[in-house]
Symmetry: C2
């Protein structure tokens, strides 16, 4: 494939392997790390050493999006980070709505890692009548029936699910009905969604359960 260096983020998402897209945020992160350490130029070799992957893979991954490096020199840390952020859509704010303001939901609302990366939780919902109206973060907890309208009004593009496993599929169905296409799911279930909706699970128990196989064997 030939891509001109100046084609401004018009990327055919279909043409890029999903694994590659999932690695881009990692590149952004490592580049930011190097940038704040004052390093201005970096080779795929050095990036690979830090990410424990082959230089070839990094170069190939980047080649899906353009030609960012200079032969004999490497990549400009700052500008590559910026380009990748733009490709991923990380140069804008993304509004999220959170459903389930129990113990876990409140911890997620209080998590300080989202804001600086451009993710803002702008609405919180709960099915429990007794919680509706309460303050969480600086938001008033809304009832689930208001979901669709609020999604429209506050330009919510991401749903964050922090309800118990028993309610998670129902809540995810509601999000889908409200037009949400990206869901961050903290509930320990494998939800069923239409093919145009993406779900990313945050699940420490699953992560542990696959490691024990190697501990045992």
């Amino acid at each position: 494939m030939v891509r001109s260096e100046d084609s401004l983020d018009t990327i055919d998402a279909e043409a890029v392997p999903e694994v590659v897209v999932q690695r881009l945020p990692l590149y952004v992160r490592v580049l930011s790390h190097f940038a704040s350490a004052g390093i201005e130029v970096i080779s795929s070799e050095q990036l690979g050493a830090h990410l424990q992957m082959t230089p070839a893979q990094i170069r190939k991954d980047l080649s899906y999006f353009g030609r960012f490096g200079k032969q004999g020199r490497g990549y400009d840390v700052g500008s590559l980070a910026m380009r990748l952020r733009s490709i991923l859509g990380l140069d804008t704010q993304w509004n999220a709505g959170l459903i389930g303001v129990g113990r876990l939901g409140r911890a997620v609302v209080a998590y300080p890692g989202f804001q600086p990366e451009g993710f803002r939780i702008v609405a919180a919902f709960d099915a429990d009548e007794r919680l509706v109206g309460h303050e969480v973060g600086s938001m008033r907890v809304q009832k689930l029936a208001e979901l669709e309208q609020t999604v429209r009004e506050r330009d919510i593009k991401i749903g964050i699910v922090t309800v118990p496993a028993t309610h998670a599929q129902d809540v995810i169905n509601e999000l889908v009905r409200a037009g949400i296409k990206a869901i961050l799911n903290y509930a320990p279930i494998a939800p069923v969604v239409p093919p145009d909706v993406r779900v990313q699970g945050v699940d420490p128990v699953l992560a542990l359960q696959s490691m024990t196989f190697y501990l045992k064997n």
Copy 2:
């Protein structure tokens, strides 16, 4: 490959693709779900529908470990779940040590999802002198210097890292030095570890950052 049905969890971990191992916990989870719904027999077709994957993939995955189904019928939900649990080593308790008892660390200690799955946090550490000696959960916070000894004494096999990004690599180095081979990392970094050490990251921001690509494109 031919595997006798009765070969009791003597599995060559090398021979099983890593992706397959990572899917097993998902199968266990869905099977438990069906079991508690009173379903006793299930086909790869039905499993596939719930997990949004092809029946062939499920059958192939399972075939790495044995022959669990009955032609013309399907799989016995209860016994397959049990077999997979045993293969993954989920039929024993696993002790974990947590490092970093700040806001995030305390939330992880309080997370009720680990215990019922056989994971127990049995020690908590922090580099901050002022936190040492305090109670977290029902544990006394220990200083990091006691790590290696405590790992031995309490049979700790898993490290959970909940320190800020700036300290995470150092802490992970300490865990590796103490002989830990499995690490659950909540810090937003891509740590460098020896090849015999496994790290699983829990990182909601990374998860969000790859979804925005598809929201944008």
